[in-house]
């Protein structure tokens, strides 16, 4: 009776009615059917990712050497870099060298920080991951109940309100919303702290073991810093969560509607089960599985969506790193950041697909 649902998720790529995000990994969902296919898809995607970043970094700039050494470099430095980049070799061989470097985690050195790009990325990535994780969590905790409520009260006031909130979440430019929120809650009301991850005077007290400031400060018993970090997280994560909850609520609503129209729901009602039991124990259970894919998509998109949020809130994450490097013409750093976010993006989506297969007994066959 519910057999059509797994195909609905995987078939999303073909339907123009779905939100753009849902189409992205539809092909993967299908591919995961066979482990060999998964590996192949990952491989192809990785080769594609590196090929495109290679083209962006090495082929598209008029003079990639100049982009790295700057126009005041002496002729010797220029020549040395020219040879180091292997620009005298054929293009395919250049790509091969680039690919082997990337596989070894070698993205070259950043001009801005003079450190290897990989080290920078390791420093900056946890901040982004922390922000995206908290925002996804908020999105789930708010979005799922909203979607369920809208489906249960379809066509009534609750449904309309959820629809309007969702529409707002899709349509609002996050960077602008962040500015307005800072204006209201920081500048005018003074309820919440301004930009940054923690107050400046707390800097350097907590040793970065995991890089997640919430975890680190809690582990080291620095509860004052923990509270401070939480208060700094509220605004940026709320901004990101706006988009997340809009998407999650919309999908939850349509999944729930699918389930509530099934015959087994009528059976449950006829049996005399309470409405709570029908909604949460029967319908929602089946929705849960489909939601995993949606949450994966959301999480991955927040990883990318944090670029603009980080700029607004001076959040020392990978998005800010990429944009700062961009303005310093630091191509190595930009490319390295792009590859890492790309891999994270693809990885999370793969993971959610695998999880989906594990949780849904029908998909295992």
């Amino acid at each position: 009776m519910v057999g059509g649902n797994s195909t609905k998720v995987s078939g999303a790529g073909e339907s123009p009615s779905r939100h753009p995000l849902a189409t992205r990994f539809a092909s993967f969902t299908k591919a995961v059917a066979k482990p060999a296919n998964v590996l192949f898809t990952i491989l192809i995607t990785f080769v594609g990712l590196t090929a495109i970043t290679f083209i962006i970094g090495r082929v598209m700039p008029a003079d990639p050497v100049l982009a790295i050494v700057g126009d005041r470099a002496s002729k010797d430095v220029y020549e040395a870099m020219y040879l180091k980049l292997g620009l005298d070799k054929p293009l395919l061989q250049q790509y091969w060298i680039y690919l082997t470097n990337v596989v070894q985690g070698d993205f070259g050195k950043s001009i801005m920080t003079t450190r290897p790009v990989l080290d920078d990325l390791i420093t900056y990535f946890p901040a982004t991951l922390e922000l995206a994780s908290v925002a996804t969590l908020v999105g789930i905790l708010v979005g799922v109940p909203m979607g369920v409520a809208a489906a249960v009260r379809q066509g009534r006031l609750t449904d309309h309100i959820v629809r309007i909130i969702g529409l707002f979440g899709y349509s609002v430019p996050i960077f602008w919303l962040g500015l307005v929120a800072l204006l209201i809650f920081y500048a005018k009301l003074g309820w919440l702290p301004g930009p940054g991850r923690i107050e400046v005077y707390y800097d350097g007290i907590v040793a970065p073991t995991t890089g997640f400031i919430l975890i680190d400060s809690a582990m080291q018993g620095e509860w004052e810093i923990f509270r401070n970090a939480v208060s700094h997280l509220i605004l940026p994560s709320a901004m990101l969560a706006t988009f997340a909850l809009a998407y999650i609520a919309r999908m939850t609503r349509s999944f729930m509607l699918d389930q509530l129209n099934q015959e087994y729901i009528i059976t449950a009602r006829v049996k005399g089960l309470s409405e709570t039991a029908v909604i949460w124990r029967h319908a929602f259970r089946n929705v849960l599985i489909q939601l995993i894919t949606i949450i994966g998509l959301t999480y991955a998109s927040l990883l990318e969506g944090s670029v603009l949020t980080e700029t607004i809130f001076a959040w020392p994450g990978i998005g800010q790193y990429i944009t700062k490097s961009l303005f310093n013409a630091d191509m190595n750093a930009v490319i390295g950041g792009t590859v890492v976010v790309g891999i994270g993006f693809v990885g999370i989506n793969m993971l959610s697909d695998v999880l989906y297969r594990l949780v849904d007994p029908r998909a295992r066959r």
Binding site: I44, T45, F168, P173, F175, A300, L308, I335
Partner: protein, 311 residues
Amino acid sequence: MSDKATTVPAAAKQGLKAWLLSNSPGSMAHARCQRMYLNWLVFSANPIAMAGLLIIGALVLGATFAPLLTSGDGIEQHLADRLQPPSAEHWFGTDELGRDVYERIIWGSRITLYIVGLVGIIVAPLGLIIGIIAGYVGGWVDNVLMRVTDIFLAFPRLILALAFVAALGPGLENAVFAIAITTWSPFARIARAETLTIRKSEFIMAAQVQGASTTRILLSHIMPLCASSIIVRLTLDMAGIILVAAGLGFLGLGAQPPLPEWGAMISTGRQFLIDQWWVPTIPGIAILVVSMGFNLLGDGLRDVLDPRSGH
């Protein structure tokens, strides 16, 4: 296209309505008009869709008649009037160079439409062609084309656009190119899916038997049938395109000053946020309203053109 019905004088309406609703259309054109009219009836009965149409209509009108709606060009500076709050004279106040924010919003709508239009013109045909070729020809061509599409689908869109602009240098045209290259792939998938469902139909076979070339079948039999899905998707994507474009503009990678691009206006207005709130706030509202308009319009069009999706 379909608002023909509303522009007809009241007297002629009776006859026209009967003509549009008659059960036996006399010609192909007649049938087509009827189809359009029926679609319009469904569409106009949907208040949400009409709200979207209204917003986008206002955007197009504003962009077209910008010289009539404003007294300047949105770029000229009046330093004596800098940072004036909203008033009868300056509806949305003035910015740090004394430029009227209302005028800049109106002129900025041209840039928004330019970006959205150009991306649409590049992306829809590109995706359509790749999709119908992959779907119709099949075999290894399908495999190769769809793998390439998958790679682009798998990319984080804003980051990739950022990297492209970083390599090409900031500017409006480069931003359009970067957005287009990260947007075309879903269209290829949709077109392919549509093609697969009709490729084995009898009318295609009939055309093949009559000796129609592959190109002819693709262009005049398959492509028109994919159009409605593509249009719906394009409208829904417009909102996303506007947000990415505004994001690039905000980061200083899109349209360059003094052009009144909305995202760039927020970016330069940022420093006046606390004391002159209107400078960065108003352009943000403009972006929000327009992208909401496209979302509403897309939802409405989907209900009309793609009844299968059900609602």
